[in-house]
Amino acid sequence: MPLIRTPNIPDPDGFYKELMDSQREMDAAQAAAMNARLVLLLANQIGDRATLSEAIRTAAATGRPAGI
């Protein structure tokens, strides 16, 4: 199924805060480790290889260099 790029999260600001709060006390290494686990958990939830590939391509193409 195609990657959903229109708004699909209820109470998006609430979600954003929840995510930021979960990492507030973490240093960069801890947050990176948690993000990797989160990616894997969510990837398993999606479960569709085509969707996951599209998400990977989208994320890779829109990345910005650190410090900008």
């Binding site: 990176a32 480790a33 990797a36 686990r37 990616v39 894997l40 958990l41 398993n44």
Partner: protein, 540 residues
Amino acid sequence: MPQSRPRYAYRCSDEQASGRPQRHPVIVVGAGPVGLTAALDLAARGLRVVVLDDNDTVSNGSRAICFAKRPLEIWDRLGCAARLIDKGVNWKVGKVFFRDEPVFSFDLLPERGHKMPAMINLQQYYLEEYLVEACAANPAIELRWKHRVTALDTRSAPMTLTVTTPDGSFTLQADWLVACDGANSALRGMVGADLGGQVFNDRFLIADVTMKAGFPPERWFWFDPPFHRGQSVLLHKQADDLWRIDFQLGPHADPVEEKKPENVIPRIRAMLGPAADFELEWVSIYQFACRRIDRFRHGRVLFAGDAAHQVSPFGARGANSGVQDTDNLAWKLALVIRGEAPEALLDSYHDERAPAADDNLLHATRSTDFISPKNDASLVYRNAVLDLARTEAFARGLVNSGRLSTPTPYVDSPLNTPDEKTFEAAMRPGSHCADAPIERAGRPAWLLEQLIEGFTLLVFGAAPTQAGLIDTLAAGPVRPRLLCAGHDFKDSQGLLAARYDGRPGTCYLIRPDQYVAARWRRFDAAKIRAALARALAIAT
């Protein structure tokens, strides 16, 4: 205490002594596991074989250990497996640990009803010793020790080999050459073959240690254990209470320093505890590559084993795939040499084994990348998988300490005849035949024991009885043997019919290497003939 390995007597051949080169139908170069198996298989297919090896003993040190079910089935077909299984350590369960907790386990053979075990561990020097004895006892095989091939002239047929022995150099001639001369194959260079792939920088220390240990006969793998922080460790039990321990050292390790017993022993002590009683028998450092030859067939030179492909050891896909190379090759080469199949049949050796090598390379590379992450990001993800594996079932399947060797089906092989009808079973054309327990003449037996010579037509249901039937199924001089389930043997536990979706009328055309060439829901002589011709690369 290291045992001494056998030494085999060099003998100056009559050919060399007389100065009259002989023409050999096939010569095998290299008497390692793959070359010796090739010789046994070629002899089993009716050929006389000369094997040349540049030394006079078995492999030295700690090399291949894990021998998988399909190679064991091949050795069983050749009459060698019982001895290997008796001496080796039988195992099927692997456990993976992260730090000090188990995170994943696998079972290589969860179902019953197979003659061969999932995996045995046996030191390569024992495997070679037993194969040498089998070859030496076979009048069709001549082993020539201390014979080094120094040049090859393929410009005319037969080819001319220049060989050097302790008595000097001489030439001999061969119609066909099977190159099993290992990772640094000289023959590869002589035919101008390319080797493509990648070399890995990570270094591993391997130690063979004799001890009476309480570990069960399971493959144990640790990521980041307390006794070897930030690296991996692998433990295998071999014969004679010899344990193989692999320590990952990383790309910056100094091999000279790391090999010293005073540096190795503390590592082992940290792992086994200060009171452990062990003897260090062997130490070496290795790096590995995942590479394969461009073409498995170069004219009349056929490459097999490490001469054709090299893999990192996680997954035991090296020797195991080499033996499967010769299983694929020997029956084809025998038919071609006897003029019963066209030379084009040998192109299928590349068509079938090159994708298998690529499959093995892919799996081995993926395992290596998990064990040795190449950059910070992959290290973070690798550890994320391990962390999640403790509690999340989905993550356990991502833990990759090695995907153990299984046969690669020849899905796109030109020798296959595609299914016309639907079958439930996985035994599709290009698959190796699954074993099944049967009963023959009132005694327990196995399906694979019935599939040891030539092509077989396995028929379920009523046995076709018309006179001269077999002749109607012939493709040139080749005809299949008829094997009728329920008539020639009993499917005593029903597992054969289950594994083959063997409804009455079903027929399987099975190749001499126990692979399925074609299958149908009812007997049709014209279709069987056509499939047999296709499996022989006979153009119609």
